[in-house]
Assembly symmetry: D2
């Protein structure tokens, strides 16, 4: 197999390394797959690093959601970075050799949402590694419209996690931040990223809530002012006390947990905002009258990233040095360590794990 | 001491007609009460007309909410109009003889919400007729800060319902309206008012949903483009069909019903807004992932009215002739018809019922 | 090669009728031009009607602006409607036979503005009939991304003026409208359209200001509540009096006149918005301290139309019957009447003039 | 003269130290003035420190603006801090002994602006030290509604400059900041404060522009990423180069200079915001078409501070350590050094100068 970047001769239609959900059921299989074809508007990227998202774990474990959504065979993976290997005939800006990552919501551009600029809410969205072949492979193909060119100063392991970091930026910056107080429920990687984004954006005080001490420690390293352990601490009381009884101006829900949402509303100041990113596994009971209506709350469903407003702001925060997410990237492994990475992530003993090709 | 109103005979510091919740349990009692005293910042108003709110029905019926919130003896009533009879020593603008109504959220002006201009979300709010003596009486006392002077061209029965009309204005205008499509769930008086406000504000299409044909007919008279009966019509299908599958840009929930909220989310376009005013009687189950997060919805808890931004806009809509709410005011009765009005309202065979003193 | 439109005879790759600025200097020339070629992403439209914009008059008259911007030979024209005759190989949604009009800001999709959704502010924008061949011709070519499909219920003469009507919708809806008071300075076609949009969107009161009685009459027919003649009326005094001394909540500047801007600020309520669409021919003197800073004004530069948010809302206002712009379309002529239309428009005795091919 | 705070016996109606504009013409006079009376809603504050604003310099120098606005005799001064000495009979929250400063826009609460929450744009505003007796004195009287209680952790010299710092917070936070790029024109104390606020709020890049090297150095100490000297540097070119030709997302005008406004527009990205706080001494010529309309700019007139939203956020930024304005406070002098302070400030060799009573 001969794969080349820009300078060499053309790529042959060969085969590649990939991790695949080959059939319904748990686990992924290490396969040799055909290198994917790219259409005239597409860009084919040689993946150099990727990360495993919570969504990927659901696919690996084959839970109810995965069963209902995923149609094997599928190569998962949507957090990645790489080098452009080739571009379609109608690609305008991207060139072979460009160092890139990508927006993983592949939007149609034609629906009511897209035509009004809400590309991240496209009604016909295809998600990389969920609805089409993903990035746990030597090569991934995405349309040029979804490519984000990386500044050379962005380190590889940060480039690989622009997708979840973008979620955090989108969520945190979905309302005013500077000089305001926040609570972040759920300190997985996106929650920790969000703590960092809030602090870089001038949040005056951020409480981080989780039940995993390792994650709370990561949140602290990202700048959280108050760490609250769901089981050991009186979460609601502590936050109300710390805010003089007023509650926080904003609540970011990054856990999908029923209890977090309940506590989150309890600590919200009247007129505050609630930004929901964490996906609950089932419908939740909400005391709409007390928590939303009488409180005058604004509850925002957050999905993906603004294309590309979120990306510009994310890049600027990173390059300015305002935002440093390296504490959350606890492990950098090689592609052959894939199963170990899955185990580590499942264990809750890691922040974000990036898998780099060169360490294979 | 003889205190005079502008036109009528002198008021003695005597007694007055009132309807009172004298003790826990159903019903109100017709009493002769002492005329309430007014402090230096207060305005005492001779009530000329009032209306009965859904909240008042809860108090009359003594349901669980009433039991938990109301401390008898209490004179209920917060939808009213009247003539200023006397003013406290520090009252600046309001004069005896002024024709007025009032904002019924009596705000403290000192809490975190108030000090940032969110007066309608005051943490120490006292609601007239709920937390303090209300307007089902010859006289009611409110602070000057809550008084709204009426333009002479506003008819009496409309003056009496500025409170619920203001709820509708606040809800409908909580986001862009012109050239957009809406669904209003719940066609009680506020829902019907909201249909009218939406249409006056340029809504391109408004579906009205209820299970009461009389209410649906009122919604139609307020301008609804599509009437949907919850039990007889395929609500979700009809709205999606009428919007080319996109769904509505905004959903106003004015019923407090679990089914309405569920259907309301189903018909919402991606990125749409949900404005919640109807008070559910208990916590509701919401499929947060599907309905709010993936839809990118913004859910607003709506409470009271912006003080006085909502009022200025309400008045302007009324005076310009853009908004005519008279179809919803189906009955004008006298104060002695109080019990009949309660029955009529309970029956669902009325829109808004205004009780005028002069018909007593 | 024979390319067919839906109904007519086959189009040869031949020649077509067009009005051209053939060389620097006043006037346009009636020419026989080659039918324009279309690229793979383009749509070729058989024009059925067009209108003459103020910009076109500048080009005809060859004023200083035209001299600096236009590179003859050029076919002007950007307000048009027609039937799709053929589509490029990569066109996805548009089909021959579709009845369409187009967004005339042809955006690059790649610049900082475009990539954040501000397509109408594209840094590399090409304007149809200004920077590239326009629509005063049998055929016009635009990229599919700029095509707007028309609802069959939209009449031909209204379809032809979606571009200027979209300007008016964009300007009027650039802030809250319902229950607020406005002044519109300049009652050319766009100003008159804006009066109609404001009223359809619930504006409580709209003053229309111009020095041309014919235009003021058109503004009245579009719903203006107060007509003010710049020379005969005390504009500022009248508006302040009518608003109780508070001034208007919003001012729309559609004339480009220095005096209008000056008066417009004078009648603006503190905290009001100023939406500027009219293009002044030279820099203007503004008392920034008094008019903008102390007044707490927000001044918006308005350009083009939101793509396609403005278009959806415009269509919905038209189809709902909320907005009827026919009073402003004072003349419908044939293409052979082009010079007469120019004269008529110059004279100020017309509103909008639409030129229909079939009347040729 | 015996003046006491809370613990001691009552204050006698004695006399006090003050600096007064006794008659039209340049200079202030050191006088012994009667201690001002306080009404029932007022708070009398024993001033412990104050600062001299640019406005105060205009009054001292008696320029055209001062001549037109000021009615001597007047004690100027509106940047101050102190201890509450006594309160009127209707004062609710403030107590003798409270350490406070005050919002200097004394609003009526009754006008159209105030009744819609735009207190800082009150049409009947009285400015302390301009329209009524100010704070260059032992005592100053303001209504309770304007009092801001200070957290004990706020240092004295920072407490004394909450008014201008609040201007900077209001201006900087008048739109999104995090991850965006800015230019600040004018590096007087408020401009330097604004640089600090922008950086604390996550601005990715801030250019500071002035012609005074001392001020540029202060801007650098507040975090400016790029310093540009108006005469020595190619301001426009440098900013466009540093932003890849796109320009800045926001421009803050803090100088009132015609050239700054002109350059500021030139470096603004399409769709950017311009926040104007600096007061030009005369009307300015603006190329409205090019700079505002085609650019799609939003120009905001900024006045005072949001009451008290700006104050809460300012306090939170200070207490969290996100914002440290001490580099800008270059001198702390005593009250007897008043004339020296005026000279120093006029010379441009100082940042902010605070005058502390105890150093008298």
């Amino acid at each position: 197999m001969a794969v080349r970047t820009q300078k060499g001769p053309p790529v042959t239609q060969g085969t590649m390394w990939a991790m695949e959900k080959s059939a319904p059921g748990p686990g992924l299989t290490r396969i040799t797959a055909p290198i994917p074809n790219a259409g005239p508007k597409d860009v084919r990227i040689r993946v150099t690093a990727f990360a495993i998202c919570g969504t990927d774990l659901h696919i690996v474990e084959w839970d109810r959601w995965a069963e209902s959504r995923i149609r094997p065979p599928l190569i998962p993976g949507h957090e990645f970075t790489g080098i452009v290997e080739s571009v379609g005939s109608e690609v305008a800006l991207v060139r072979p050799g460009d160092r890139v990552t990508g927006e993983t919501h592949i939007y149609c551009g034609l629906c009511y949402a897209c035509r009004r600029g809400l590309l991240h809410l496209c009604k016909n969205v295809q998600i990389l590694g969920v609805d089409r072949q993903g990035a746990f492979a030597d090569f991934v193909v995405i349309p040029e419209q979804n490519v984000w060119k990386l500044d050379p100063k962005i380190p590889e392991e940060i480039a690989a996690v622009h997708d979840p970091l973008g979620n955090a930026v989108h969520t945190a910056l979905a309302g005013p931040v500077a000089g305001l107080r926040f609570a972040v429920f759920g300190c997985g990687p996106i929650g920790c990223f969000a703590v960092g984004v809030l602090k870089s954006a001038g949040a005056a005080w951020v409480a981080a809530v989780d039940k995993n001490p390792i994650r709370l420690e990561l949140a602290e390293r990202m700048g959280a002012d108050k760490l609250l352990h769901v089981e050991r601490d009186a979460v609601v009381r502590s936050i109300l006390d710390a805010t003089g009884g007023d509650g926080v101006d904003g609540m970011l829900e990054m856990s999908g947990s029923a209890g977090a949402l309940r506590d989150g509303f309890e600590v919200l100041a009247n007129g505050g905002r609630v930004s929901l990113l964490g996906i609950p596994s089932k419908p939740l009971e909400i005391d709409v009258a007390k928590e939303i209506i009488f409180r005058g709350a604004t509850v925002q469903g957050i999905n993906g990233r603004w294309i590309f407003d979120t990306w510009y702001r994310m890049e600027a925060l990173l390059l300015s040095g305002k935002l440093d997410i390296r504490p959350v990237i606890t492990h950098v492994l090689g592609w052959d360590d894939f199963n170990q990475a899955v185990e580590l992530q499942r264990s809750g003993k890691a922040g974000k794990i990036v898998l780099v090709r060169d360490r294979r």
